[in-house]
């Protein structure tokens, strides 16, 4: 059982897209990257943010799949569609509220982030979080995530960082901008 979970601090993102490059390096990913990085407001500033699969506890992609091709691993990772079961209907790409599953037109197959299951099943961080130079993507224990939550919560009703869930319960924690809000300056 994995001890750590993927945790995102969007505000740290520097837009280097190393996570995309690294995704192709996971042995099971056939050199195709499965995540996204967006320019938030490119004509104004250089803020970027990654969009990773959140590995929902009750994933819409899997629920929408008529062929039960999308399996959930015992660690909670929502796996990419099983090649032998996927019928290429693309229901999952429409059902996912975050637009995560990608579709390979040539192979007629869906593919998505499997949280580098070959790594994370043994508690080795996924490739994206391994390489992320800015610590936007981190691989943390439940206790470390809880500490983050406490330090970011300043109870001023202005920010809702480290919220429990966006759409529904997920295995990945996302921290919206505002992480330094609760930081007390040293001097």
């Amino acid at each position: 059982m994995t001890k750590r979970k993927l945790y995102l601090e969007l505000e740290n993102c520097i837009g280097c897209r190393s996570c995309l490059a690294a995704c192709t390096q996971c042995g099971g990913h056939e050199q195709k990257n499965r995540n996204y990085v967006y320019d938030v407001n490119p004509l104004v500033n250089r803020q970027t943010m990654p969009l990773m699969c959140l590995h929902c506890a009750d994933p819409a992609c899997a629920r929408s799949c008529p062929a039960q091709a999308i399996q959930i691993h015992e660690t909670g990772a929502v796996l990419s569609a099983l090649v032998e079961k996927c019928i290429g209907c693309q229901n999952c790409t429409i059902a996912c509220p975050y637009g995560i599953p990608k579709f390979d037109e040539e192979e007629n197959l869906m593919y998505k982030c499997d949280l580098c299951i070959d790594r994370t099943k043994d508690d080795i961080p996924p490739m994206c979080a391994s390489v992320c130079p800015s610590n936007t993507l981190q691989w943390l224990t439940e206790e470390e995530i809880e500490m983050k939550k406490q330090s970011h919560d300043v109870g001023n009703d202005k920010w809702v960082t480290s919220m429990h869930y966006l759409e529904g319960e997920t295995n990945v924690t996302v921290n919206l901008p505002g992480i330094l809000q609760g930081t007390v300056k040293l001097f």
């Binding site: 740290n12 897209r17 500033n45 250089r46 391994s130 390489v131 040293l186 001097f187």
Partner: protein
């Protein structure tokens, strides 16, 4: 080395039929640790796996690092020597034919000998680079002086690190790029980063930078653009390009005025305080603001924060260094640390972000026109005596100092230099004022280029020698901390390619100088001789054996003896390297950029990197992922400026200066000053922004002013949108 809070014990994944080779990245001075995945059936590199145990970068890599392995077995590799018989095709990719090593090297030796017989020893030149190991850099210097006997050798660090080197030497008496290890950065209380787009150029520093803010520390950034680093700064000093010296003087003035000077430190360990204090008095916040365009409030706030910080690190990069007063800018920023005494202890000091992989080591060991190994001056008879002994030559035969990189092109134009041996560099993209430089290369009588891809510069060569990538040879590199690290070989050279040191040994033989080179059969042989040559110099590597580097995760120079563990922190005893042991606080009068905007050229042009490319792009433009992410150059323009010129996002416009012109797609962004435009410099041929840049050289470092010149935008009639 002690492991810090980012270090975690993590096992690597080992795929079936693969082994992992521990090494470092081929690109920038961060030298991120990585494991190359090698297929044990084919013995070829097939991928990358993080190197979690490397203390500096703990597994992290930027997209260049992740894809670096794709260089080795790339389809564009040159697999055999190439000869071009038809010199009318000079300046194009056309006309090369494959040849044997014997034919190619014999042709090179014949032409070199003929040129020297007709025009003297100094008619030949060597233009080198520092994206290669210390062993190769060292041997290139020896090759030029012993095998060719020419004074004309210089290298691409003149376009990169020479101003930092000059500033550090003047201020501290020694040029080690960082006074402290990178593992100190996240523990300091204030980072003052000037002229560094760290998030794009040295991305794996960023987790430490953000950690300073997470602890409640401050980030001050001086940059004309709101870079991904400046975006989150506590104070962003958005200055006009080329005005850094005024800003540093203005901050220093406030530090002294507001009582942040450490009088005891200044009195005991420095010279030059009084005259500097007097000079910076005129740099009041109002005057500084007038020159730099930064608001008075921001200048005052930055000085207050840096002054109050218990520990602070001043960091800088090419933004302040690639100016015709780059050396002064460096010394001016070092002044801040010296006057406040925030140096010579952990978590406080100064550092430059070294651009090239071996930008530090490569500049220390004799590729510079006036230096010999160990950071020795070629004009110092004792230095010449020591090195001559190691090389087995007569001290009288040691050539005199030559000229700097850009000045070599001037001598080519004048036909003083008629032959060129170019390696590990692509000046047809990276030099300033490219119309002039390309013409100078075209006018050469004979040129040989060693590279593993056919670069834009190789298009001017008569002979191309296929060299190897970093992964097909071994040796040491000195990273941006001053830490000597080990690059390991992961696969055999492909095709008939071979390492530069081996070519030089073979060529020396054909030139009749074999007795000085024949004993160098392996990279380790070169390393052993190299360590001896550095012994006793400022940059002393004698104690940095390969075994020690492996054992203790790198060795910081100076490392003078076998028992010496090296020097992670400089100046802990407050002893600087000038003869009186004191550092020099420098009084530096302000000079504007060499070319100021005018009616005809009303905007300021500045250049730099993007995260997806490295230097001239000869490597990264061939990597599919990096090319997809940034296929073309562009010009960043502020929306108000765009409105003035009636130009739109994605429209193609012409940029021109007194020296050249080029067309670029417009990228509208509010994250740049209204009076400034920015173009990345990684692109070749008609797309090179260096067709426009100015070759105004720093009087000490001979660094061209890449970072500021006057430019105008012209809307094209077609108003074409790509």
């Amino acid at each position: 080395m002690q492991k810090d809070k980012f270090f975690r014990e993590i096992e690597n994944v080992n795929h079936p039929n693969e082994k992992l080779i521990k090494t470092h990245c081929s690109y920038c001075g961060m030298q991120c640790g990585m494991n190359l995945r090698v297929n044990t059936l084919t013995n070829k590199i097939v991928g990358v796996e993080p190197r979690y145990e490397w203390p500096v970068t703990v597994g992290k890599m930027c997209p260049k690092g992740v894809t670096a392995y794709q260089q080795t077995n790339h389809k564009d590799r040159i697999l055999k020597p190439l000869i071009r018989d038809d010199s009318s095709l000079n300046g194009t990719k056309e006309g090369f034919r494959e040849a044997s090593w014997e034919e190619a090297l014999t042709l090179v030796a014949k032409n070199f000998k003929e040129l020297q017989a007709h025009y003297g020893k100094d008619s030949l030149s060597v233009f080198s680079g520092v994206s290669m190991t210390n062993e190769k850099c060292y041997l290139t210097g020896k090759f030029a002086r012993v095998a060719l006997g020419t004074r004309y050798i210089d290298y691409n660090g003149r376009f990169c690190m020479s101003s930092a080197a000059g500033g550090f030497l003047r201020t501290f008496g020694v040029d080690r790029g960082s006074t402290l290890p990178w593992t100190d950065i996240h523990e300091t209380d204030c980072l003052f980063i000037a002229g560094s787009n760290t998030a794009e150029c040295h991305p794996t520093s960023m987790f430490r930078v953000w950690a300073v803010q997470e602890r409640g520390g401050y980030l001050i950034v001086a940059d004309p653009r709101e870079t991904p680093l400046a975006r989150r700064a506590d104070i962003h000093l958005d200055l006009r390009p080329g005005t850094d010296l005024a800003l540093a003087n203005g901050i220093l003035h406030l530090l002294i005025k507001n009582g942040h000077a450490d009088e005891q430190f200044v009195n005991q360990h420095t010279n030059g305080f009084e005259e500097t204090k007097e000079l910076v008095e005129q740099f009041t916040p109002a005057y500084t603001s007038m020159i730099t365009g930064v608001s008075i409030e921001k200048i005052e706030r930055a000085a207050e924060v840096y002054g109050k910080a218990p520990n602070a690190i001043v960091m800088f990069a090419r933004g302040i260094e690639q100016q015709h007063k780059g050396v002064d800018n460096v010394s001016a920023y070092c002044n801040l640390a010296l006057v406040t005494g925030k140096i010579g202890r952990p978590k406080a000091g100064v550092a430059t972000f070294t651009g090239q992989g071996n930008g530090q080591g490569g500049r220390e060991h004799g590729q510079k026109s006036d230096l010999l190994p160990g950071y020795r001056k070629i004009t110092d008879p004792k230095a010449v005596e020591h090195v001559s002994k190691v090389w087995g030559i007569n001290p009288e035969d040691m050539p005199q100092p030559g000229v700097s990189a850009y000045e070599m092109f001037e001598l080519m134009e004048q036909k003083t230099i008629r032959g060129l041996y170019l390696l590990c560099s692509n000046p047809a993209v990276s030099a300033p004022n490219l119309n002039f430089v390309r013409n100078a290369m075209k006018n050469l009588d004979f040129m040989v280029c060693s590279d593993f891809y056919l670069s834009e510069s190789a298009e001017f060569a008569d002979v191309i020698l296929p060299s190897v990538t970093w992964s097909e040879d071994e040796g040491t590199v000195t990273n941006l901390e001053g830490r000597i690290i080990k690059i390991n070989k992961a696969q055999e050279p492909i095709g008939e390619s071979k390492p530069d040191w081996q070519m030089q040994v073979e060529l020396a033989n054909l030139l009749g100088k074999g007795k000085h080179f024949d004993h160098l059969k392996t990279a380790r042989d070169v390393a052993e001789e190299f360590r001896l040559a550095t012994k006793g110099g400022n940059a002393d590597y004698y104690g940095a054996t390969w075994d020690k580097i492996d054992k203790q995760d790198g060795v910081f120079w100076p490392c003078r003896e076998k028992e010496d563990k090296g020097t992670p922190h400089m100046f802990l005893d407050n002893k600087f390297y000038h003869s009186d042991g004191r550092a020099k606080i420098c009084a530096l009068p302000y000079r504007p950029p060499a070319e100021e905007p005018c009616e005809e050229y009303p905007l300021r042009l500045t250049t730099g990197r993007v995260v997806y490319h490295y230097l001239s792009g000869n490597q990264t433009r061939r990597i599919p992922f990096l090319k997809d992410m940034c296929p073309d150059p562009y010009v960043e323009v502020h929306p108000s400026t765009a409105e003035k010129y009636n130009i739109n996002h994605d429209e193609v416009v012409k940029l021109f200066t007194r020296r050249g012109k080029a067309e670029y797609k417009v990228k509208i962004t509010e994250a740049i000053r209204e009076d400034t435009v920015f173009v990345p410099y990684h692109f070749g041929h008609d797309e090179s922004i260096n067709l426009l840049t100015i070759a105004a050289l720093d009087p000490m470092s001979r660094m061209p002013e890449f970072k500021a010149c006057a430019v105008e935008i012209e809307k094209l009639d077609t108003g074409k949108v790509l």
